[in-house]
Symmetry: C2
Subunit: 510 residues, 2 copies
């Protein structure tokens, strides 16, 4: 199915109406509060970014809707089954009550139906994810036999189970549930008590993935304590392989990820695109300012971490219990156990303006490397022209590019489209997810667009249209349940960078 990747990532095929996306159905498995929804959101974001249209179908939401929990903008899809808040209370999950068991099963099957309709109904749909506990053998077998009957064009199924034996991670997840839709605005102690009871009910009939699935030759991935252990079975399909590869690179360690464009180049200053070009004097001033800005931010972060650890022992424990911090068990002790001693890596493209922008960072404190993968979108024969020149000299090229910005490949040797850039940046994203170091990427506007569209979960069309104001930079801090985003503007007069409080609305386009 690599053909499908490549084709979905090459313009010829993307605009080919006969193109049918490869199909994968993911069924989540796991007791409550095992981070299933976190995994699911992240996975969908990655696959959508790779242009495999992915959608999450959450059984819990359907249950709440089915039971008339008012949720703004949503209408109940069927008549009231049980008065609120019963459908959210532990009692609703009592496995000894056959009525409730069958209600829950029906809700699960209805959600699966919805997923299958979407997955086989549309040529562009690629990955459907069923987000539910599915923690009993019977439930999984019901779902699978249902799928066997109506698989349609589906050609891959993958079960993903998240297990957690780390009590500290579990406790944190439990408390996060109290802010969730089932318990919001309820007495915390009561809510926690009720939620624990729900988990007890689940545990009674819980069967982890294993023998039964191996008997039936069902592909599965089992992740234990956020990637400490990963067990896979019969992973062969292209999309499943992509999913496993991605999940092997998960880590929860706290760190800074910075993404900046290089300073202004000679070509930038006259609007010429795509060539290798040196920094202007303004560009050099910007580069100098960037060094002192990043230096300060790094120190601020380390101080915050220190005080955070003093205030909050839990978080320290959490960090220590995080396999992220256990790297290099043997051999050179890089003191990774203390997050204040994180390495700081700077990756630039191989183009002069990026390399020169990084030149001020000292090798002692920053690990620098150049990567061709971070080079600017290749403008082929248009490199060295301004957009105005392209419009007048090559009106057809200009128009085609304007119409299909995402999949239009510039003509000429090495010319790329945005989809080509996504394709070549995949290993960079996997590396950013795997590493526990601070990172600064100094690259080019088109590449920054593609990187941000991954972190901010933007849709196709938003990507190519995203406005990146000149000399802005971005911070992306992984935090539990998502990413803390910051946009910083540059003030040439003072040579300083300033957080833009309202940037969110600018960038969270979808």
């Amino acid at each position: 199915m690599a053909s499908s990747t490549s084709s979905s990532l090459s313009c010829t095929k993307t605009i080919d109406p006969s193109y049918v996306a490869p199909k994968l159905l993911i069924i989540m498995v796991g007791l409550p509060a095992r981070g299933k929804s976190y995994i699911v959101r992240k996975l969908a974001r990655y696959l959508n970014w790779l242009q495999y249209e992915s959608r999450v179908f959450n059984v819990g939401e359907r249950r709440r809707v089915a039971a008339h929990i008012e949720r703004s903008g949503e209408k109940p899809v069927e008549k009231c089954l049980y008065p609120r808040p019963f459908s959210s209370s532990a009692a609703f999950f009592d496995p000894t009550n056959p009525d409730l068991v069958s209600v829950r099963e029906r809700i699960a099957l209805e959600t699966l139906e919805e997923l299958l309709d979407w997955l086989s109904g549309q040529e562009s749909s690629s990955v459907g994810i069923l987000d539910a506990t599915n923690s009993t053998l019977k439930r999984r077998q019901t779902l699978l036999s249902h799928i066997r009957r109506k698989a349609g064009t589906l050609n891959e199924v993958l079960l993903i189970e998240s297990c957690c034996f780390d009590q500290e991670i579990l406790e944190r997840n439990f408390r996060l549930k109290l802010n969730g839709p089932d318990y919001r605005n309820q007495d915390p102690d009561e809510a926690l008590k009720d939620f624990r009871q729900r988990v007890v009910f689940y545990e009674k009939s819980y069967v982890p993935l294993g023998e039964a699935e191996e008997q039936d030759k069902i592909p599965y991935l089992q992740t234990i304590d956020v990637g400490r252990k990963t067990n896979t079975h019969l992973i062969q399909g292209f999309l499943s392989t992509q999913v496993v590869e991605y999940m092997l690179n998960f880590n929860l360690s706290e760190r800074q990820i910075w993404i900046f464009c290089g300073g202004e180049s000679m070509d930038d200053s006259v609007g010429k695109i795509g060539r290798r070009s040196d920094l202007t004097e303004d560009g050099q001033r910007y580069a100098a300012s960037l060094v002192s800005f990043i230096h300060k931010e790094r120190e601020r972060w380390e101080q915050d971490m220190q005080s955070h650890r003093l205030q909050n022992h839990d978080s320290t424990k959490l960090r220590v219990s995080d396999p992220a911090q256990k790297e290099h068990t043997l051999g050179s002790q890089t003191g990774k156990d203390s997050p204040s001693l994180l390495n700081f890596c700077i990756w630039t493209s191989t183009m002069p303006q990026a390399i020169q922008t990084a030149s001020g960072f000292c090798e002692e404190r920053y690990v620098k490397s150049q990567m061709k993968t971070l080079d600017d979108l290749n403008a082929g024969d248009m490199a060295g022209l301004t957009f105005e020149e392209i419009a007048t000299l090559q009106p057809a090229v200009y128009a085609a590019r304007k119409q299909y910005k995402l999949q239009y490949r510039w003509p000429g040797l090495g010319g790329e489209c945005y989809l080509d850039v996504i394709h070549r940046l995949r290993p960079i994203i996997l590396e950013l997810e795997r590493r526990k170091d601070h990172m600064l990427l100094i690259t080019h506007r088109a590449v920054v667009r593609v990187l941000l569209s991954y972190f901010l979960d933007l849709r196709r069309d938003d990507l190519a249209e995203m406005v990146i104001p000149k000399n802005w930079g971005f911070s992306l801090e992984p935090v539990s349940y998502g990413i803390r985003f910051g946009a910083y503007s540059y003030r040439p007069e003072s040579g300083t960078f300033h957080l833009e409080p309202n940037a969110q609305s600018m960038f969270f386009l979808s």
Copy 2:
């Protein structure tokens, strides 16, 4: 450590004398005849191809040398311990004989010493692989504490265990052992009996990877029945992640992999390099001949398979017991269980001469896709010139390229070196390893060099110098314990391709 990849793959760093390769020590684990040496050879080939210098240190060989088994060109490294063939007979592996236990332990430690000297002694050395059973907890703990004491610049350790519960695969492996150095030229029945006794001795004290390693936080990968199941623990380092990614894509299914250049282009006919250019009339004739050649070869292969299956039930069973054939358990039944119904995929670059060379293959029988990843090595500003023109117009460029062909990047936008091409072809190699379809790649000479250097395990310098005669193509059939290689020359007069019987010597350069 991605910096290390990228840097090891960017010319600036490759020729930087201060460059120190990332270090990984792999310790193999597993009972005899579990395919350890197969895995080890393949892994080393992949890592060497990625330019991480890798070397296998085999304890069995040292045992044989230590015990004076004559092996041409090798001198015994120490005085005779035990007369031949005792050191190869089952009795030598008796765990109840403390003398023999300590001899075997000393041989293992000496081999580890040799590995550590090589790994920390040289800046360029990257991955050392200790190929032995290491099937007892005590042995592994001895090795690890020894490593802890002398780790040096080592910063990653990975245990890899190969388990096999599939009786048919096991039986086949047992029989393959009879051709191995310990049993060659002995009575097969006696030899098999002796080898089974050796395995029994090992099984007595065998402890698979698991709890103990998890207690000690040792990263491991456990592969069961050739990739049917894969269990990983604490995989975090860059090289370990590369290894796991590669091993997740193993499969043993029999199929054809063909690699050809596109037919002669207008530019080829006048010796100009690197541009997009259409086929000449000769090129078009070549393309037409290629279609009928591949068509015939595909049918021949399928007939051979048929008769092979009729003759030899074992091999059929083997094929069926191979998870490779279990793809698409659910959903569309593509009849993959019968190897005679394999898909045939054609991947071309996005350059006209490759696309035009594939144009004669009908969409009904061949799945075609275009991949930018297969484009020719980008000659940057030199594209469109002949080598003679480069030599006269750009003598400095010509000389630098000649001297550092592997890591010299052509100047100008998008210009590449061979290391860049290796880097971008990595996903293609992983896909070729994962798929069970027949494959035909139609690409360009530099890309063919890089692909062949992977399959034929060529060393750095051989790669760039490899001679690819005009209009030759290559077949690479995965077979147990390696690859069946064929080179085919094209006869324009008859429009036919012919197997070159002596090509091996041409290409197995190292």
